[in-house]
Symmetry: C2
């Protein structure tokens, strides 16, 4: 077995130690004679795994008891509907900030349930810089303010948390959750598809202030009602047990690494050296405003895009996988989530320098 | 490692060969240097896994090109909403047959979207025999007829497929899919949570006649629209990739066993010998009408329920796990899905006979 360096945007790489533990106990969890995925979700064993995962996430992120932590299915895309269905609470208007493909998707779905006001947009600058706080046009009567702290495809990231006053702040944290410290108390609701920084695809984590729950739009499917899940500890039906278990192993791994403070330091170093390598070269380029460069998703272009295919081929031969940019934008993208070790970034930089020497 | 016999109702046991293969390639799928769960769902590798799984399921069940096969999230419980939201198609009425806890849940959710007519019910007989075809009061203008071929909790199973004429027939096949041969052409829609006969929890398979798609109730979340998933080959967002992969391994395993015809023979034998052992004893009892006894879930009671705890404890010591009945009904329940080997049933019968000798 040779594990390679995986820069996939998601489903993304998991910590090797986590996979090794899952592998070791895959057929026989803790000597019980069966796999964790073969256990009833209501068994004492699985419930203890599930509860521990939630507690570890609460510890890692400092989530207070004012918040419910839900382990759901359906991906962030389902949240695009669940958020208006649950958070409108009788209001007819919500504020959204548009910074790229993912915020646009959220806006499009929300517009089916309410009047969406675009409180700010980066479209005018080609999505290379987020609107500043001063530029936001906030409606104090909006049901909530939604934003996308990191646009995974564009590689655009906020350098601040929007101030929304009494209006609940809602964030799609799919690609940045657990990558650095965050004051959860500033948010009404945080959601994240697991497949970047948490675990395997098929699990979605929602952290929501409990006082926002309890009122849904007429016709909301029962499974789209946060309160139903909150009241049942995310077990109103069979949850994705293996994903929940793996997320729990990732949370334990994060604690062992020193928690999000340590991840923040590592991620800061990883992105700084990768952008520095890009900036030091005339051959590679990243177009984002420096303050809004994503720590997690680093897109870059080659001076000559006729070399893209060769770059990808040689990178793969060098053990550097999944560097192709999103099909909608092209170029390259290195996603460097928590589980991507600094050694992977070092190897990528070496490869990029070597490739430049040969082809610039 | 000692694998035990697992009679869990779900999440249920998986074939040991499937788990062994998943274990072997968990950190390095086919020499690619990463786990299948660390790959983009749009990678050539994963797409080939996904397509092969669908093709194998089509082969196993004889699913024609008139049907779409969807790999979704949210469990059968989400289907309880998705079915009326998608299949009403402008109609206001749907027929449901009530045979126990799961059909009641489906009815309760459907009633939020349409007028539900109870076309038949086993409530009058305490849910021990399903209504016959002659007893059904079918509305020829109903949008569809929904029934639950097997009630997992009660252990009640249809011995026939209801005839609904031109009204599309909809079946919750969560616990019986792939357990025997089935004429898919008789159905408008079949759905099944994976965690019994297909794979791990967090995956839901929907088989739906394509001509029924394309019209949804106003306000239906995009992710609850079958056509959106059908048009995107179940990849309108990130699907539960690891579950889909594991389901594919289960389908391959089923083919290697001789397909559903061979499973039918094995399942027929397994249930016959277990019910025969129950019937041969005055100590154990199953209350169901013989024709409606479930092949998959065999509930039974002890003559003295004060012995239940001891039975469960000694069964566990004998390596027979998860025999406790559902919390809503008590007693015992042996779920004997495809992956439960005949040796498990033999071991259970031996244990039951021994326990009876000691305690009757």
């Amino acid at each position: 077995m040779t594990r390679k360096f995986n820069f996939s945007a998601g489903p993304a790489g998991l910590p090797e130690e986590v996979l090794a533990q899952a592998q070791q106990e895959l057929l026989d969890w803790h000597g019980k004679g069966l796999s964790i995925m073969e256990m009833s979700h209501r068994s004492d064993e699985f419930v203890s795994v599930a509860e521990q995962a939630e507690q570890d996430l609460r510890d890692l992120m400092g989530i207070s008891s004012a918040y419910k932590v839900l382990f759901l299915q359906g991906g962030a895309t389902s949240q695009f509907s669940m958020i208006p269905m649950n958070l409108l609470r009788g209001k007819t208007n919500a504020d959204y900030i548009n910074t790229g493909i993912w915020s646009k998707k959220a806006i499009k779905e929300a517009a089916r349930y309410c009047d969406v006001s675009i409180a700010g947009s980066s479209e005018g600058n080609g999505n290379i810089a987020v609107p500043t706080q001063a530029e936001l046009k906030l409606n104090p009567d909006a049901a909530y303010l939604h934003y996308t702290p990191n646009e995974t495809i564009g590689g655009l990231e906020y350098d601040y948390i929007p101030e929304s006053g009494d209006v609940p702040l809602v964030a799609d944290l799919s690609s940045t959750i657990l990558s650095r410290q965050l004051d959860v108390d500033k948010f009404g609701l945080i959601y994240a598809g697991a497949q970047k920084n948490i675990g395997p695809a098929g699990l979605t984590v929602v952290i929501v202030r409990e006082d926002l729950l309890g009122s849904v739009v007429a016709g909301t499917p029962t499974m789209f009602d946060y309160k139903v899940h909150a009241d049942a500890d995310s077990m109103c039906n069979t949850p994705p047990t293996f994903g929940w278990y793996l997320a729990g192993l990732v949370f334990k791994w994060l604690k062992a690494q020193g928690g999000v403070a340590a991840m923040e330091k590592a991620n800061q170093r990883k992105q700084a050296k990768l952008y520095a390598a890009i900036d030091a070269s005339d051959f590679y380029a990243n177009p984002m405003a420096v303050a809004n460069r994503s720590w997690m998703n680093v897109p870059f272009t080659l001076a000559d895009d006729a070399l893209d295919a060769l770059f990808l081929q040689q990178a793969e031969e060098a053990g550097l996988l999944n560097l192709q940019g999103h099909r909608s934008v092209g170029g390259m993208r290195a996603s460097i989530y928590n589980a991507v070790p600094e050694a992977a970034v070092d190897a990528l930089i070496s490869f990029m320098q070597q490739f430049e020497k040969q082809h610039a």
